[in-house]
C-alpha cells in the first residue's frame, strides 16, 4: 500500500506546484510544461484549454499520475505523487481518479457491463454488477450491457466509458477531449451526461477540450500556451449554460 497521507486541513483535491516536463529527443530538449502552478479545490469543475501542442494532455497525464514530472510536484487528495512508484500511483488512481478518453479506450474483449465493472473489481469488490447496471441505465445503455465495444457506436462507447469512470465514485475525474471524436449532437449528449453524473456524485472534474462551449459550462478555465498557464479565470455563473 502507498503511504497514504491525507492532510485533513487541505481542501484542495489537486495541488500542482512548479510542474515542469521536458522531453529529451536526441541532443535537443523540449520543454512541454514550464513551471506550472495551480490548485483545484474539491467539487470544482475546470476546463483546460489551449492550442494544439500546448501541453494539455501532458499536464493531464501528470496530474493523474500516469507520468512523472521532470520538476515540481503533484498532490492528489493530499497525496504527493512524486515519491510513489508506478504501482503505488496505480492504486491511488484506482481509489481517487476516474478517466474519460478521447478515443474511449474500452477493452475490446469485455462487454459493456464488464468494462464498467473493471475498476471496482480491481479493488476486490464483489457484487458490483448491480451498481454497474444502474450506471449503464443512467447513461441510457440499459439494453446494450452485454454488447462488445465494437458493436457499439462511438457515442455509445463513450457513454460506457463515462459509466466506467464513475463506478468507483472517484473524487476527481479527468477527461481528455471527451467529445473530440464525436459529432456535435452526440458530443452534447455526452457533455450533458458528464455534468449530470458529476453533479450527482459531487466529483471534481478536470476536462481538456478544444470546445469553447464545453469549457464555458465549467466553473473555471485554465488556458495553456507554450507550456505555461496564461489564463486562469472563473466562469461567471450566469454564463454557465446549464441544462
Amino acid at each position: 500500500m502507498p503511504p497514504v497521507y491525507i492532510d485533513m486541513a487541505e481542501t484542495n483535491i489537486l495541488d500542482v506546484q512548479q510542474l515542469t516536463k521536458t522531453y529529451q529527443s536526441g541532443s535537443r530538449s523540449l520543454t512541454v510544461l514550464d513551471h506550472v502552478t495551480f490548485s483545484i479545490s474539491e467539487g470544482e469543475t475546470v476546463a483546460i484549454v489551449g492550442p494544439s501542442g500546448s501541453g494539455k494532455t501532458t499536464l493531464l497525464g501528470l496530474c493523474a499520475g500516469l507520468d512523472t514530472p521532470s520538476e515540481g510536484s503533484v498532490r492528489l487528495h493530499g497525496i504527493d505523487l512524486g515519491p510513489l512508484t508506478e504501482d503505488e500511483r496505480a492504486v491511488v488512481r484506482n481509489e481517487e481518479v476516474g478517466f474519460v478518453f478521447q478515443t474511449f479506450q474500452l477493452i475490446p474483449t469485455l462487454t459493456a457491463l464488464e468494462n464498467v465493472m473493471v475498476p471496482a473489481e480491481l479493488r476486490g469488490e464483489r457484487g458490483v454488477s448491480g451498481r454497474a447496471k444502474a450506471l449503464l441505465e443512467q447513461v441510457g445503455l440499459g439494453d446494450r450491457m452485454h454488447h462488445y465495444p465494437k458493436q457499439l457506436s462511438g457515442g455509445e462507447q463513450q457513454r460506457v466509458a463515462l459509466a466506467r469512470a464513475f463506478i468507483n465514485q472517484p473524487r476527481i475525474l479527468f477527461a481528455d477531449e471527451p467529445t473530440g471524436n464525436l459529432d456535435d449532437e452526440t458530443g452534447a449528449t455526452i457533455e450533458g451526461l458528464l455534468f449530470d453524473l458529476n453533479r450527482t456524485a459531487g466529483t471534481t472534474l478536470v476536462v481538456v477540450t478544444h470546445d469553447l462551449s464545453l469549457a464555458e459550462k465549467t466553473g473555471r478555465i485554465l488556458r495553456l500556451r507554450g507550456g505555461r498557464v496564461v489564463e486562469d479565470r472563473q466562469v461567471e455563473p450566469t454564463l454557465r449554460a446549464v441544462g
Binding site: 494532455t57 500516469l66 507520468d67 504501482d87 496505480a90 488512481r93 477493452i107 474483449t109 480491481l122 479493488r123
Partner: protein
Amino acid sequence: MFDRWSWIMAWRDSRGSRRRLLLFLSSMVLGVAALVAINSFGESLEAAVNEQAKTLLGADLSFESDFPFDDSTEVVIDSLGGLQSRRISFGSMAYFPRTGSTRLASVRANEPGYPYYGAVETNPPEAADTYLQGRNALVDGALMNEFGVVVGDSVQIGSINYRVAGELLKTPRESAAMMLFSPRVYIPLAELDTSLTGFGSRVEYEVYFKFDDNRDVEAMMEVLAPQLRARDVGSDTVGEEQRRWGERVGNLYRFLGLVGFIALLLGGLGVASAVHVYVKQRLETVAVLRCVGATSRRTFWIYLIQSMLMGVTGATIGSMLGMGVQLLLPRVVGDFLPVEVDFAVSWTAVAIGFGVGVGVTLLFSLLPLLSVRRVSPLRAIRSAYEAEQSRDVWRWVLYGALGVALMVFAVFQAPDPTIGIGYMGGVAVVFGMLALVAKGLTVAARRFFPSGWPYVWRQGLANLYRPNNQTLLLMLALGLGTFLIVTLLLVERSLLEQFDVASDGQRPDQIMFDIQPNQVEGVTQILEAQDLPLIDQSPIVTMRIKEIHGQTLAELREDSTYHVNWAHNREYRSSYRSYLTEAETLLDGGFVGTVDPSTEVVPVSIERDLAYNELHVDIGDTLVWDVQGVDMTTVISSIREVDWQRMQTNFFFIFPNGVLEQAPQMHVFMTQTGNDEKMAALQEALVQQFPNVSTVSLSLVLAVFDEIFSRVSFVIRFMALFSILTGLIVLAGAVLVSRFQRIEESVLLKTLGASRKQVLRIMIIEYLFLGVFATITGVVLAYAASWSLAEFVFQTPLVTAPIIFLLALVIVTGLTIIIGLLNSRGIYARPPLEVLRAEV
C-alpha cells in the same frame, strides 16, 4: 495463486482469441505428442530389453573361449555351480546326401539345458527337445529351403550322419538376419565328430550357466572377468547383452531423442511467436487497465494465467495424442525387434511430456509477456507513446532460465551431456546468426534503398526496416523453423541410407565362391551372357601367420607369457586390390594400392579389431606370412575400419596389387539376379560349366534386411514427419500472426486509394524478401548442423541432397507468401472501417 480479479480478467480477455490461441498452441500440442510418443516408445523398448535380456543370452552367464577351457578355468566353472550347459561351435561343410548339396554351415553342438530362458523354436515344435536324443540335427530353415531338404533327410557333418529332426526357426542370441549369412545346424554335443574341432579350425567353446540363488552375476563377474580374460576366456552377462543391444539400436534412440528435442523447440517457437503478437495487440488494453488502477503485477498475471492455461491445455491434448500414437506404434514395429516388446503407455513419459510442455510454453511466452509489465498507462492517452526501453533485469533472468531449461532438456534427450550441450550451442548459434541476418537485412534495405524503383517495391522494401517491422520476428521464426525441419530431413535421409544396407540398387544377391583364376573369364562370360552385373570380384589367397613380433608362432607357443589365440592360428583369406571399398575407412597410416613385384617388405592393411584386440600389432610392425609354402614379409602400413554389415566380401588383410597375382588363389564374384528365374538360370549355367563353383543366394538375407529396414525407417519417417508438421504449423502461424502488424496500414493504403493489386504486391515483396533470406540462412545452417550431427552423433556419412535445399527454399518462401496473401484476402472483401473494428 494470483488474485481473483486476474483470473476473471484472464478468462474474459481470452474471449474471441481462444480459438486462435488453440491454433497457435497446436505446435506445442504436436511437440508434446511427439515427445511423449518418443519417450514412451524408448522406455517400452528399454523395459522389454531389460525384461528379456535373459532371453537374449538364454542364460544368466556364459563363458566362451577359442580353446577348450584349461584346467584352472574348469575349476572356476565347477566352483560356480548352478545349472550348466556346454556348447561347441565351429564352421564345417554340411553335406546333404539325398540332394548331393554341400554348404558351409555354422555348426552348434549343444548339451541339453540351454537355453534356460526363451526357447529354440523349431518346426515341428517338439524337435527342439527331441533332437538331443540320438544322432539328430536341426537345420536352418533357409538352408532347408535352398536345398529342398525335408525333415527326415540326413545331413553329414564331418564323418557322422544325422537325421534332420526339424527346421530351426528362432534361437536365442541370434536374430534371423545375423545368422542367415552362414546357416546354422544344431547337433547334440554327445554325437559330435571330435576330429572336426582339431587344431587349426576356428572353434568356439561355450558354457552357459543358470543360477537359482539370485546371486549378483554382474558384481561376481567384475572380479572374475579379468582373470578369465587373462586365459583368453570371454564372458557374457545379461547386463552386457542389454548394453550391446542398446548399442545396436543406438542410432534409433539417438535420432528419437533429437526429434523430441526439435519437436519441443518448434513448439516453443510457435508459442513464442504467437504470444509475441498476441501481447502486441493487448498493449492498449493493458494501458487502460493501468490507467484505471491495475498494478503492473496484476496485469502481468492476467497474461501469465492465460499462458499457463494455454500450456496446460496444449500439454494435455499433446500428451493424449502422444499416448494415442504410442498405442499405434507396436503394430508397426512390434516384430522386427528380437525381443517381445510389451508396449504400455509410459506414465513417466506422459508426465515428462506434460511437464516439459507446460514449462516450455510458460518460458517461451514469458519472454514476450515481460513487456506487459513495462506498458505505461500513458499509452492510453497518447497511442503512439513508446516507452523508453530501460533495461529489464528480468529479461536476462528469463534468458538465463530459458537457456538452462533448454540445456537440461537437451542433455536429457541427447545420448550424452556433451552432445546435449552441443545441441543447445548449435541452436544458440543459429538463433544468433538469424538475428544477425535480420539486422543486416534491415540495415541493408535502408542503406542501399533503391529510390529509383517503382512504388510498390520501395514500399515493400521499406516495410523491412520501418518502425514496428516484423523482420526480426519472422526471420527468427521462419529461419529457425526451416533450420530445424531441414536438419531433421537431412539426418533422416542419412540415417535411412545407413540402415539401408545396400541401397545403391546394385545389391548383390548371389555370391559365387571357389572360382579358379582360369575360370574367371568363363564366369564373367556367363554373367555377361545372362545380362547380370558383376558387382564385386575379389581374389582370395589363403595364408597363415608365420612370424609375428619378431618371433615364429612355434616360439610364441612355447612362451608362457604370450597368448596365442585363434587370430594367430587361423587360416587367413586375404585379398589384394588397389583401393578401399565403401565398407572400409582408413583409420591410421597410408593405404598402399600397388607395389613392384620385387618389393621385399610388402605394405599391407589390417582390420582394426584384429590389430588392436587380437594380434596386438600396430603400424610399422612386421608380419611374416606363409603363403602356401612361400614366405612373404609384410609391414603394416595402414589400419582400416571395416563395416562388416555391408553386403560385400570383406577381409582382415588387404595386400597391394603386384605381389600376390601369381600365388594360388580363387575368386569370389557377386552379382544381382533380382528374381528366382534368373537365379536358377545362373546356377544351372554354372553347375554345367564350372561344377566346382558354389553359389550362395543372399535373397533371403536381403528380404529380412528389407523388412527390418522398412520398419525402422517407418519409425524414423513417422517421427520426423510429426515434427516437420509441427514446424510447418509454426511457420504458418508466424506468418498468420504477422498480418496484424500490417493490417491497419493496408487498410489505410486502401483508403488512400491504393489498388488491391498494389497492396498485395507490397505484401508479396516484403514476404518474398523475408522468406528467401530466412530460408537460405536456415538451410545453410541446417547443412552445417546435419554435418556435425552425422559426424559426431550418428557417425554416418551425411547425405547431402541439394534437392532439399531447393525444395525448402521454394516451399517455405511459397508458403510464406501464400499464407500472407490468404490472410489478407479478408482485408479486401470488407469495407476498411469494418476490418479495423473487427481486428480485436
